[in-house]
Symmetry: C3
Subunit: 317 residues, 3 copies
């Protein structure tokens, strides 16, 4: 892996396959044992720096770090000196002085992880930056699909819902594309990015376009990002046109959702409770994938550094 994981653009298809192989081989079964822990990152420091509320992602990263035996420090923005007006840059320079090995950042502004990567020697993992990206979510989605379908090449996926505000959609359009999948976006025009067509994906405004896909990827309605703007003239109309229920799901189709779900808004309660969805497999995959990402980001780069040193010595000698 590269030094940081900021975007799905940072990873080639081979690297995606490789890190997911680590997750599958070394970490997926670990959770089922009594001793759910390996000493791999003992003595390493992981700082989880979250400027947005989160249960699922922050506990997933926290537990991933702890099961790798790292020391994990949680910094929540609203329990922090951020309230005293310190800038993100100064916060990161401060944290960097503790010489953490990894900083996991969630931040409401697009590009924040790339920005802080200039001010720390730690590996930065983007855990969600505004409407930007959420690469570990994409990796766990690919992982879950591989567990279900095996080879992904040629698979058809429809991403449905509030695409405009979704960092998950953005990462998945990139990542699914790299894996050879065909992506179709389904949303009302107001919830699509303007350049959707330019992304090289099909666009539709109707759930009728679910026909023929293998995977239905539902997005959470991000009402907290609508910031007062009138993206949804009527939530009831949205639900009647875009809420996906069990009756929309065809034979063999599988449904994913990054969570947390809004029952009755983007996903019907019947579908949320059905075996057709892979939601909990995604959560479980997330833990294994994040352990793999943290492990590989440390180990690959340490190996690369050691090799570089050997070459230096040879060049000198």
């Amino acid at each position: 892996m590269n030094w940081h994981l900021l975007s799905m653009n940072d990873l080639s298809r081979d690297e995606i396959e490789s890190v997911l192989a680590t997750a599958r081989k070394d970490f997926l079964e670990l959770s089922k044992r009594d001793i759910k822990k390996v000493p791999t990152l003992r003595g390493r420091t992981v700082i989880d720096l979250f400027y947005e509320k989160s249960t699922r992602t922050s506990t997933s990263f926290e537990l991933a770090g702890k099961r790798l035996s790292a020391d994990v420090i949680n910094v929540k923005a609203d329990a922090s000196a951020v309230g005293k007006g310190e800038s993100l840059k100064d916060t990161v320079l401060t944290l960097n002085a503790y010489r953490p090995d990894i900083i996991v950042l969630r931040h409401p502004h697009v590009g924040a992880p790339a920005f802080i990567s200039r001010y720390t020697e730690a590996h930065v993992i983007n855990a969600g930056d505004g409407k930007g990206e959420h690469p570990t979510q994409c990796l766990l989605d690919i992982f879950s699909l591989q567990q279900e379908f095996g080879e992904l090449e040629g698979l058809k996926v429809a991403i449905v819902g509030d695409i405009l505000h979704s960092r998950v959609a953005r990462s998945n359009i990139i990542g699914f594309g790299k894996m050879g999948m065909q992506v179709r976006l389904i949303a009302p025009p107001a919830l699509l990015p303007r350049q959707a067509a330019a992304l090289g994906v099909e666009v539709s405004h109707s759930l009728d376009s679910l026909a023929g896909v293998d995977v239905i990827y539902l997005l959470r309605m991000q009402r907290e990002r609508h910031e007062g703007a009138n993206f949804l003239p009527s939530l009831r109309e949205y639900i009647s046109n875009y809420c996906v229920s069990l009756r929309h799901v065809g034979r063999g189709q599988r449904v994913l959702h990054p969570g947390p779900i809004n029952r009755g808004i983007e996903i019907g309660a019947d579908l949320a409770d059905s075996g057709e969805n892979l939601i909990l497999q995604q959560v479980e995959a997330g833990l294994a994938v994040r352990m793999a990402v943290m492990y590989r980001i440390i180990v690959d780069n340490a190996a690369a550094a050691a090799q570089a040193e050997v070459k230096n010595i040879q060049a000198v000698g």
Copy 2:
């Protein structure tokens, strides 16, 4: 122990004695050593899921988990995706996907621990559910009384105060009864449950009824649960009639309180600072008892599972 600890009804008198013997034998002295830690639950995951503010109970469970060497994850409801409208069921299904060994739940709704136990393979420990129960508090109270009195059979205890809103009272009426103690409730009529008489306990409205008891169990006035209703026409009148001070405490009587105390409301400052109360012994007992509960809930059930497997093999063979 059973698979979960939801109510004092889950435990027989023998089981109560047994888990408290573990607390006494294995964990009470541990806190006094330099190395206050055993490797018993190394690699196990404990999730403390708290939907109500708490210092005393949450730090007690957190420290109990850490001193057993488990990985402990604290999830506080107001720092969580719960704000994004996820249901308790979906939160628990999500956390369950991490395959925790134990989920400790505090929740404002009665029955929440039983409810979530349907959605997780983890052992669920009820750390307080609304006006429902608080079984580990009852266990630590019994433990503290045993340390002070030895045999509890026939001991007389008066539970005083806001009984209507008290999960502690509910668990203790059950638990003290199982231990053969005689329970008397003292409270103004508005702070007694309607069916108090049906609980098989004496009821009184006057502190005069403290005469002759061995134990005075004071409850915190739960003003945050009064929800606007007029349970207390006058706090001053309540204090003059029900605040227990040192002068109310007879020779040999001992005073317990689950904390946090309201000095000058249900307990006089003189009594709060006196050696007649066992409040700090209760806190210390709580840590040992919670370590014992977590340890036994894991170990007993693992042993039971192993035995069941042996029987299966014998039946097949």
Copy 3:
């Protein structure tokens, strides 16, 4: 070290030198290794009890405890039973019943750490008490200056800014004095304590007095402690008279700041980003110094207790 660290008055110059030697020898390099951890305090319990928001100090203490392998419990006042009206005394008595080895306290009231030290057998470390003191900040400042200047005897330091509300200034006036440094205070009259002159330090109202000092120590403008009072008729005027920028810094002068900084208020952005300041060295020093303080407070006192016991035995024998 003494049993507690409440004030810089608790330490002699020799003790300061000794604990900083431990920080330098045993802990400064540790952060640069892959395995940033020692088993020294394994099984010990450290409670970080913070009644004020903090990132920098609370993460520094948390990480220091974890890198010493202690079990660390974070108690934040606004996520706590404090909201239920429990007194500081009762909170500490409760926490003390867990038999922690160290309680690190930050509190808005002067004297709170000394107050709680009467109610716990734990070692109490003052992590900032209102406008009182912040001794570990002073220790890390001395450490940073020693790294930069070597011997401190005779060094001249100007402390600039909101001295009236600054616990850092108070501790540093004491600590710098003990190290033989000459202290000069620079601030508008309204932000100086009335008895400033009685502190045995020079006082000035102009940045012109920066001439000739070796060290410029900037303080954060503590607007949250001004409590509505009109200490600053005009922030713009304050900035024009007291904001220190790169142009104020002479050859060989070094600038310190306890953080978090307010860019453009007490420190110019150019200076904040310049190599003339030691701000990040201070943060790094803080971790090593806090590890040394925690280590020494445990080990020195355990050694003292053992020696006392030997003497007792000899006296008896």
